[in-house]
Amino acid sequence: MKFTAPHIEYDLLSPILIVLAVAVLGVLVEAAVPRARRYVVQVSLSLVGIVAALVAALLVMSRINPTSDKPKSGYLAAVDALALDGPTLFCWVLILVLALLGVLLFAERRLEGGVTAFAGQASALPGTEAERQASAMGLEHTEVFPLMMFAVSGMLMFPAANDLLTLFVALEVLSLPLYLLCGLARRRRLLSQEAALKYFMLGAFSSGFFVYGNALVYGYAGSMQFDNIAFAVSSGSGSEALLLGGMGMLAVGLLFKVGAAPFLAWTPDVYQGAPTPVTAFMAAATKVAAFGALLRLFYVAFGGARWDWQPMFWIIAIATMVVGSVLALSQTDVKRLLAYSSVAHAGFLLTGFLGARSLTDIAPGDLNPVQAVLFYVTTYGLTTMAAFAIVSVVRDGAGEVTQLSRWAGLGKESPLVAGSFAFLLLGMAGIPLTSGFTGKWAVFASAASAGAWPVVIVAVLMSAIAAYFYVKIIVVMFFSDPIGDGPSVTVPSVMTSSVIAVGVAATFVLGVVPGPLLDLLGRTAQFIR
């Protein structure tokens, strides 16, 4: 039998390729460049790479000219393995922007007094001479940058994946580096390693389900291509059981990444244990990629079986919102609290995801679910990034201060930081004139348009509960007096500051003039089939 070499559209895939190339180069740098200069090289390399990828992504986007009223639906690339349509390209741009901010956080050195937030020498045991020497020598793991680049490449592939196999590979490519990154904290290394272990174990476990689901769906449809699956679903051939079983298991894999109930158990532990920059990047970027993939898989491949999976997602959305909001009430650790809040947000995103309805029901002017979800994930990503960035600057002698009670009086200590954190929290609570509100409105409206009223009601009630713990933080920061010597805010370098600035600005702008972005999404948020 003879093989024909597949045709690869390098120009279209350039963003992914660039990022991958940078990652590989990064590895070489580790090998070739002397330790003293690695930091600079790696940082600049990744920054340049991501910016380049961003430009490339924008170029690709311009080819489907999204500004026109009737944009092209998009391209299928790499032998239909990747679908480059509106949603994909938007996710790319968003992920790359978040990655850029992520790199800035990774590269932050002033907070730890001249070194990054990553372990000087991961192999050195915590609390041993070796570790002390490592930190004394100011060692630091610059491998984090290539690792991150790998993760980013996976994230870029994830929402673009147009067949189950690509989806699986992308999933692993984005997950594995993150597992490692979670374990590389400079301080509280035991927690960090534990986080890595838990994340890895559960991640592997869930990917087991994912693959098996893969197999079952393949058994049902006889192909891994989404369009073929969609065709099989609509034609109703094959055994329902295989389809449903497979669909369920794939859902498990994706919902695990999203951190939806009941697959959220890892979220609080990992978010808390991981180095804050990693948490920030992970919390923001992973959700974007995962939701991109979730939307494509269930809208394109399983769109025909909507009536089968929608009830299940109703339950999951409700459960996720309830668990996230209620459990967050009693949290006393800021990072953990933000983790639960991110769970709640996943619930809200799923609410928007429930807006799925046949395209004929969606009139031209109307808000469509893809648009709503992508908009919300944008607002959420930027806000969360900035929030975690702020967490990383509130410190005392022993590093970051994450007990909520110790944040008392921060409002007096440094009004600017506390003020912007309060603003971000109000954003997450969904107060108008912040992006949180417009986002919430969009996802709720999308769900309501599809008639998912019970979910919307629950969502509304849960936002009320969620508001309670956000407000609680504000009260602690502004209206209560510090216990002992309150935490001090270490003035970060321009890098972290710029991340915070961008996040706050985005939260405000997307809250006041969300129009342009929404319209862009409204025009382009159509999946190619």
Binding site: F200, F205, N214, Y218
Partner: protein
């Protein structure tokens, strides 16, 4: 010949793996159980590929093996660090992060 027995076998393997993950303490064993699950999937993939008469399934199986290998690399690294700090490979010892 029918594919059902193979599917049932793969399902059994998968379940064994899943249960193993839940019951075994030693991180390495847990990890092996995950591998077992992956291989159960491989079996299913190949079976279906045979049933459907195309190669996608088999290719997928190769990919899964590769990915599994990569996973091993990462996984073992993490487990090693934990083992070295804690002098134990029991996943239950790592339970500082809770509530």
């Amino acid at each position: 010949m029918s594919t059902t027995p193979f599917i049932i076998l793969s399902a059994i393997l998968f379940t064994i793996g899943a249960v193993g993950v839940l019951t075994r303490r030693n991180a390495l064993v847990v990890f092996m159980c995950v591998e077992l699950m992956l291989n159960a999937s491989n079996l299913a993939l190949i079976t279906f590929s045979r049933a459907n008469g195309n190669l996608d399934g088999q290719i997928a199986a190769f990919f899964v093996m590769v990915v599994a290998a990569a996973e091993v690399v990462v996984g073992l690294a993490i487990i090693m660090t934990i083992f070295r700090t804690r002098r134990s490979a029991s996943v239950d010892d790592a339970s500082l992060l809770k509530y």
